[in-house]
């Protein structure tokens, strides 16, 4: 059971999209999991052949519990199925097979491991995982004398711990798990989502010392350039200003990389790539900010297509697990709702959020003349533990400069 958000502790398997014997590729959607933020499609992290499905539909599992086992390399499905059967026993031998659907790659190691377990040999990632899952490292280590505890060992221990109490599948949920076409989120899910948002935002305001900056950016050039571009193409191929803004933000963080990444265990971890979280308001309430991967390198037309697809899938609860966890910076755009300025709350463990308001026509000074021009308020909320106002200001200046040369963002 992968973690599909900073505060997720459990997830419910809704359905499998694969069966034993199926070959799966890295990145393939293998199952749907229900979380507080709705149903999510979970991708496989490694290629292989499905050997055994462990989780049953409608079973609620703790994060880290195995969902399935894969046969990899020279392993046969039968061997792995047999080997992993033993893993359900109280004292398993170390099996060759790895949990197939593993959580997102562990973040960089904490600089100071927790003292109580310090005498146990374990990888930093395993320590962190053990802490998250509430597993005593010492008990895991006892099973493998002379070996360092790996993250897989910890997860195995956690899985066994949860296997017993949750073996009885929970009764069928009131709402069907697999969502149909675009529809409003059911009321009980809305309550859960409200709860998830409350928890993440309270954590943000408790832990992150925000600083806020804002500036007005002239959009006359960008808007005119976009109009010319869009005039030549059909409606399906037009690009919205929101997509241009995303591309500009993704490029601007190249100049201030300390705004793009995560803050974990007292350390800033720069993002590997610029994955822009797009805040999407859901019908009937709630909010989710899935990641648009590598937004800085996508050609604008492709970025627009993916952004539209991401928003639609967010509303239909068809997001992928990686999209829920990978965002390295978030953009919220309330322009359609009429507000001019938004000072957002950072989504932990990210360290910055960029806000755009409505594009308005205003008197603006261009050269020495006052002209009617389209402008937008851009804001930055950033984590003061990682960056300072000077750097934030530099980011907004870069954003402004990039938006004055829209053709370079194509």
């Amino acid at each position: 059971m992968p973690t599909l958000g900073a505060d997720m502790t459990r997830g419910t398997l809704v359905e499998w999209h694969v069966k034993p014997g199926d070959a799966v590729a890295k990145g393939q959607v293998v199952c749907t999991v229900e979380t507080d933020k709705g149903a999510v499609e979970v991708e496989c992290w490694e290629p292989g052949t499905v050997a055994r499905l462990v989780a049953e539909p409608m079973q609620s599992l703790e994060v880290g519990a195995p969902l399935a086992f894969l046969a990899q390399g020279g392993e046969t499905v039968a061997d792995v199925a047999k080997a992993t059967e033993r893993m359900a026993a109280p004292a398993p031998s170390a099996a060759a097979a790895q949990p197939a659907v593993t959580p997102a790659p562990a973040p960089a190691p904490p600089s100071a491991p927790p003292p109580p377990e310090a005498h146990v040999r374990a990888s930093p990632a395993a320590r962190r995982r053990a802490e998250e899952l509430g597993i005593a490292l010492a008990t895991v280590a006892q099973r493998k004398p002379g070996h360092a505890v790996s993250i897989a060992d910890v997860e195995r221990a956690a899985a066994e711990r949860t296997a017993a109490p949750s073996s009885a599948p929970s009764s069928a949920p009131s709402s069907a798990g697999a969502p149909a076409a675009a529809a409003s989120i059911p009321a009980d899910r809305q309550v859960a989502m409200r709860h998830a948002i409350a928890s993440a935002m309270a954590r943000s305001k408790r832990e992150i010392p925000h600083y806020y900056l804002g500036t007005e950016i002239l959009l006359e050039r960008a808007s005119a350039w976009l109009e010319t571009r869009n005039a030549g193409v059909g409606v399906a191929d037009r690009v919205l200003l929101a997509a241009v803004q995303v591309k500009a933000v993704a490029r601007a963080v190249h100049e201030t990389p300390e705004l793009n990444g995560f803050y974990r265990d007292g350390t800033f971890i720069p993002g590997s790539g610029v994955h822009v979280g797009i805040a999407v308001a859901l019908r009937g309430g709630g909010l989710i900010a899935p990641a648009l991967h590598e937004a800085d390198t996508l050609p604008l037309a492709e970025l627009m297509r993916r952004m539209a697809d991401l928003i639609e899938r967010a509303r239909r609860e068809r997001l992928r697990g990686a999209e829920l966890t990978d965002a390295t910076i978030t953009i919220t755009n309330l322009g359609d709702l009429g507000v001019e300025t938004v000072f957002g709350v950072i989504s932990p463990p990210q360290v910055a959020l960029v806000g755009f308001g409505r594009v308005v026509r205003k008197p603006a000074v261009v050269g020495d003349a006052v002209v009617a021009a389209r402008v937008v308020h851009a804001t930055l909320s950033a984590d003061h533990r990682v960056s300072d106002g000077m750097r934030g200001a530099r980011f907004l200046a870069a954003l402004d400069r990039l938006l004055q040369s829209p053709e370079a963002l194509a």
Binding site: A181, A182, A183, S184, E227, N230, A231, G234, V235, A236, R238, L240, L241, A242, A281, R283, G284, M307, A308, I311, E312, G335, D336, L337
Partner: protein, 84 residues
């Protein structure tokens, strides 16, 4: 050549394609659509793609301002369909 009622139905279907919770029977055709239904610029674009597929009318960006209400949208689409 579709009738006015058929064009209006296409507009309703387009609205429901992006905002399925909408009860189109209660929509005020003479009031701005965005005041009655939660539609953002991405939804609006999807509606236009839907209408293009249904009616064959590709609304240029410059005409978006003429589509504020349901009835104005019907007028515009009928005008385009009549013009051939």
């Amino acid at each position: 050549m579709p009738t006015r009622e058929e064009v209006r139905q296409a507009v309703f279907d387009a609205i429901r394609s992006v905002a399925p919770e909408t009860d189109t029977a209660t929509l005020r055709g003479d009031r701005p659509l965005r005041e009655q239904v939660e539609i953002d610029s991405f939804d609006f674009m999807r509606m236009l793609v839907f209408l293009h597929e249904r009616l064959g009318v590709d609304v240029p960006e410059g005409a978006y301002g003429q589509l504020a209400t349901v009835e104005a949208t019907v007028d515009y689409l009928l005008g385009r369909l009549t013009a051939g």
